[in-house]
Subunit: 272 residues, 2 copies
């Protein structure tokens, strides 16, 4: 049904999912990506499951108009709330970020104590806890919502005393649990990796699901004979769409992706 | 055309506009309010003018289905970006929060130096500056976007060292300009009034547009013979609608309004 040379659809509530797109580009440089960031309705982390499922459905319908061969939910909240629902109805392979993150966390822990930080939605859903326990029963998983970290990252306060103070408050509970593994369960958090690493100390392994999600996607595409087999010659290999503020997105995306983004198109996602 | 006993429509991107609804309830206790909070797409402050105009249009179409006699845009960003556009197309009286706030600021200043704090959208629009200068040419208006104050308020950090530090950074530029009047140009900021007042010092007058907006609305309703003239007997005088998380809204609204909110209804605003 799907063409192996079709693009891969990747989406997020905004810019965070670009950290996942970047890993896919690094690990599968021949693949084309159609990225959508829902910048008109960002953030998702403090909204309800019902609303996040509706938004996710609209985005998937949009990506299907781009003839994608597979879809990556590059957003922890949308994975936590909507993956189970949408994968039942979809004929294409669909990958979220939680399974891959949970897998490395379960493999990494030595003392059986794992922490997960994320948005309120991601933590409330219990998605990471369920996934980790299904892979390694008996581990202790402690989730901690960190709602202020996303706005602090979006304001660029990556190395700042205020971010240190807020992160320190959020992480103190996890330190008290003597975790040895911490899942960065929100695509913005890898940008605070050095702060979080310093606060948790060198004995705690930080897990970034983006890398492993790209590996999981590659495996699925190989299993289904969907790996691209032609060298792309088009000038614009990847396509970027947002629901608002295309120029701001272009500039941010260019700063974190391995290649410059020339143009981002704005669409009205509510029409899908 | 409009019935004087119809309700007043009031809307905001979320909960902040309740501070305006509260002033209307205090000043016109006989009036009924239909409130809408766009909690599925909150915040508006960091989104584009085009998107905020589209969201505002949908909300006004929804409020019109409730037969409102007048509309209050209880959101600074939506007022800044959309009021001029929507009032041209509307047959009903419509009031934003900026005109009233600008008026008190222009009247209050003694040294002709006024500061305005708000979201990125409100400050970028220059709405307050234009309004103040049209009332009192020659004054110096300095706008300062304070994007982190809304998330800090929504996390409940009203009296907290981190909020002090962030507010202090935002306000230092305005202190350096020797302003004597500061407009709290975002409906969340009155909740930080004591912190902002302490940082700015007793010589600076803080202007909260909510109170004056309710006065302006009352004057307009009187001029147009639209003041309610019957005692409402229905059990639920006011009606509350949101696009997401109705229960959370009900609990917050009950905590700041003069009377308990029994129920908030959730609607899909994208259908309007």
């Amino acid at each position: 049904m799907a063409d192996r040379n079709s693009p891969i659809g990747v989406f997020d509530s905004g810019i965070g999912g670009l950290t996942v797109a970047r890993e896919i580009m690094r690990q599968m440089p021949e693949e084309r990506i159609v990225y959508f960031g829902d910048t008109a309705r960002v953030p998702y982390g403090n909204k309800s499951q019902e609303t996040v499922i509706r938004f996710t459905g609209q985005i998937i319908r949009f990506l299907l108009t781009k003839d994608v061969k597979a879809i990556v939910i590059a957003c922890n909240t949308a994975t936590a709330y909507a993956l189970d629902v949408v994968e039942r109805e979809l004929q294409l392979p669909i990958v979220g970020v939680i399974h891959a993150g949970a897998k490395i966390a379960a493999e990494s822990t030595r003392n059986g104590k794992i922490g997960v930080i994320g948005t309120e939605g991601t933590i409330r859903s219990g998605g990471y806890t369920k996934a980790i326990k299904s892979m390694k029963p008996g581990v202790e998983v402690t989730g901690k919502p960190c709602p202020l970290l996303v706005p602090l990252v979006e304001e660029g306060l990556l190395h700042d005393s205020v971010t240190d103070e807020i992160a320190s408050r959020y992480l103190s509970e996890l330190k008290g649990k003597y975790i040895d593994t911490l899942v960065l369960g929100c695509t913005h958090y890898p940008l605070l990796r050095s702060t979080i690493g310093r606060l948790m100390g060198p004995e705690v392994t930080l897990v970034n699901p983006a890398y492993e999600t790209a590996l999981e996607l590659k495996q699925i595409l190989e299993d289904k004979n969907l790996i691209c087999n032609k060298e792309e010659t088009a000038e614009e290999k990847h396509c970027f769409y947002v629901s608002d503020l295309a120029e701001k997105f272009t500039s941010f995306a260019s700063s974190i992706l391995p290649e410059d983004v020339r143009e981002t198109k704005q669409i009205n996602i509510e029409e899908y």
